[in-house]
Amino acid sequence: MISTAARLLSAVLILLVIFAATRAIIRALPGDPLNTLIAETGTTIDRNVLNRALRLDEPFLPALMGDLRAALRGDLGTSILSQRPVAPVVAERFVNTLILSSLTLLMGFPISLLLGLLAANHPRSAIDRICTLYGALCAALPAPWIGPLLMLCFSVWLPIFPISGSVFLPALTLALIFSGLWARLIRSRVRESLLNGSARGARARGLPEWRVLFKYGLIPVSGSLLAYLGTQTGHLLAGAFVTEIIFDWRGMGHLLVSSVLRRDYPVIEATAFFSAALCLLGNWWGDFLQNRVTPWKE
């Protein structure tokens, strides 16, 4: 009970630190932040209005408190370039990124599960080699290369998907990049549990091979696999950011990168905070699962 409360408290503290860090970006600008900002964005908004809106007229801590109070009310500021409130835009883009990542998991995970399980069950066979080769190949594919090539294959030569605005191709790219890693991971973990667990006894009792594979190979390590998936949230998010740019899918990464390039600070602050918080959530979820499923490790 106490440890849960302590964890919750530390989580809130870490989130506050991240919030402060994202708000410090604008103050870290070289020279007078306001001058730099006006010069970089070329905005026509009045200097004094901007100064007040970004709370640059106050010292850092009071401004941070003010921002925090506004953020708790759901007000994340206004975009300098589009003059629209940031919060609804971020929410809309977040949903798009969520769609992309879920579809990636949906496409990539079954393939890696199938390949990993088969390879684990037949060591040194052809399927084992295919799994290793697939893993090495997928890890060597830079998203900015394989993305456009998939676009070429499936939107230009074989016009199955539209060239932009479709979620399938970015999800396919991401699934391709990540499934190799997942397949290799599943293969090595399941093989370990097949060797060390009670799989031999189960085989001797005459259980069908597929049941041995699931019950004595996959189930014992599923907790640590799920936990690993939690720690992968950040990498999946970063991968989604890159593919969003390649395929012009309007998700959070698209918003973050384009606002970094155009120096739209209120948008940068909000998206960076949400992305960092999502990574942390993934890590915590992984830790939680790890502790729940394998308590003897503590």
């Binding site: 830079p142 456009p148 390039l261």
Partner: protein, 270 residues
Amino acid sequence: MNIVRDRALLLSISWLCLWLSASALLGLLGGSISFDISAMLQLPEWKAPFGYDSYGRNLLFITLLSSFKSTAFGIFITLLSCLLAVLIGSSVAMGPKHFHVVLSRILDAFLAFPPLLFALGWAAVRGPGWGTLIFALLIGSAPGLIRLTFARSQEILAQDFILASRSLGASFARIAFHHVIPAAINLCIVKAPSLFAHALIAEATLSFLGIGAPLGQETWGSLLLQGRDYLVEAPHIAAATGLPLVLMILALQLISERLTLHQLRAKKQP
């Protein structure tokens, strides 16, 4: 590790040597590449096996020149990460215990977020450029490597032979320079090829996004961007500029794997 008998390894090393020496030759001799608007986006022919790019330049030469910058950058980052990892990892492991926790927490903070997020935050302040690229690639490679060298140094320090040599009167410096640092360097040598591969991918990705190499500087990432922009008119740009990169990453991964195997075998039969 038998290089001659292992055909995949031989192929990887020869590809690396071929491409790196060709690009270094072109890069160091400062070969100038002629613009020829009439050849714009033209398909490969015998004089230009990769075809021509959007400025009518020979794409093979441009890819070699750009990859010279990218690989030089990747090697620089890899060496810098190894240096940092050996220095920080071994010195903190040999230092007082409460520093161990501090280092672990700092590394946790870096490893909890994808390097791309740090890179974007940095780019929001400093804008794109070589400095941003150095920062982003270091954040991507150094913390993981420091954690490994730190763990390895701790492992070495806990061994019996360290206690034995201490009781024989070995000094702090002797233990550091004869046992801890060599082990950390050994680890870095095994990890270096895959770090280099990661640096190449990260450079290409960041420059593609526009937060890496400064405008007008051509690297592998900016060539990939050109490939995407002319995907429909000239698909050969996208295919040809990335293929050498993928082959290079595959070769580096293979070398890294063989090095790891070699070291495992060496450990088993001393």
